[in-house]
Amino acid sequence: MRHLKAINRKARHIAELHDAPDVVALQNIGPRLPEGPHIPLGCSFVFSPGWEVDSTGSTAGLCQPVERDLYDCYITCFWPIHVPDLYNHAPDWTAKCAAAQQDWRKIDLIFP
């Protein structure tokens, strides 16, 4: 450390840890990239392909529920969160589903 002078024993430990060449220090070499905004994780926030269209714009490669069951999509994203864009594209997607426990079959697939 060049700007903080360690005075007591604990401070010296901290300074030594900071000055030791470790993986984190190696990552700090080179131009520093500005940190982006903090974005909560999950595809429904970032509109990545996977739920309405696949990466080619078609529906052939849509994520399947089983994939989410087995692998998880992104950390805690589970299949039920994969709903279409209810604001713009399919505002009445759940119109026929008053109570999910009974009416879940009425929620149909959405195609672009």
């Binding site: 700007h3 903080l4 005075i7 940190e35």
Partner: protein
Amino acid sequence: MMLARGDYHSFSADGAPHVYLVPSAAVFRLDATSAAVLEVLQEGDVDATVMTERLADRFPRLLVEETVDELLAAQAIRKVAAPVIAPRAEGPRKRIPLTTLVMNVTSKCNLSCKYCYEYGEDRISEPATKPRFMSEETARQSVDFMMSESGSSPSVHLTFFGGETLLNFKVLQYALSYARQRGAELGKSVDASLTTNATLLRDDIIDWMVDENVGVTVSMDGDREQQDKLRVFANGKGSYDVIIPRVKELLRRHTRRPIGARVTLTRDNLEVTDIYRHLKEELGFWEVGFAPVTTKWQRDYAIADDGFEYMLGGFNALAADYLQTSLAGRHHGFSNVRDTLEEIHRGVAKAYPCGAGLGLLGVATDGDVALCHRFAGSDTHKLGSVTKGIDHELQNDYLRKHHIDNKTDCHTCWARSLCAGGCYHEAHTRYGSTEQPNLHYCDWIRRWSATCLEVYATLAARRPEFLRQFDS
């Protein structure tokens, strides 16, 4: 990247800005750049790029970025987006061996000091149901208990306490000789010390203390006037004239170990500097330690708010004297400063205010084991007995409840790593619960800690060799 101020206390020493970080207890001296970064964050959270812009006229961008990096590493500042780690109140990961056993060899005393927590109005033990003197058998069992609970620790410390310890000198003598014998068999060194009011010191007792290398602390409040206010015999007569020839003889002959005086400060006895001068310079004690009386606030000897202020003034004056004397390379005997300097030097960040219930336990006259000597004999603070051992379930429960993380009031205090809520007995007396932090002296503790930090950092800058005594 939004930056925010970390948890620290800033202070100035030797003309330079310093920080004492919480909870790490690290002390750093700041250069101009790091001081400027912290100053910007004093006003509120700032984005890292804004920070470099605001300091651009004084420091180049790269220098500020490097400083921010270092301050982040030391946790003097933090990223706003970084999750705040919740307090967890975890107990020690492995069992801490018992290294100090305080044996209350008697609960009887030949003095009737009004403020005494063993005898006075605020006592918690129940002497009527317990023997007044510890028997040889209990003493032997206590030593065996200490040896077995000390695990692999190569040394153990035996402290005799009372009552007046010398009223049970025979058992005390026996306990130490038995401990030394057991220590030799088990390959452990045994260190011993005792506290006495000095009224019963005789030549043969002093000889024994010298021969056995026993550390001695004399409870004493100052000169004749100060001593005789509250440290009196049952008939009200002061004890000063009785103890002075004996104290002088002790100090003359027992030169193997530094002898300390331990002063209880009360509302009427707050002339810290005068007391120190009398005990250190006129009588010749090696060191003098002060403690405000532990009492309910209603008592007429309790220190009131303005008294704490006055006492702090005295402490600060004596601390300044300590600093000057130490800078000149001479010994100063104000042990309150010395003890705090040692904790600062080691970077102690306490989860508990003291070792009570961890590496230190107190034994009552009947062999019951409690948190410390102040609780010895109290059934509600019992953690086991010398014959049945420590009740580890009770002990763990106690450690969980008393962890600093469970003292919500302390979470925003920068002095928590040094204080950790303060003495359990003090809390019990004031608030009726050992789990309470001692909120009545928070401000006092913070200001006293600030003084000690200034003394420490000044010594580190101007006489670093002084601090080497704390390295061992």
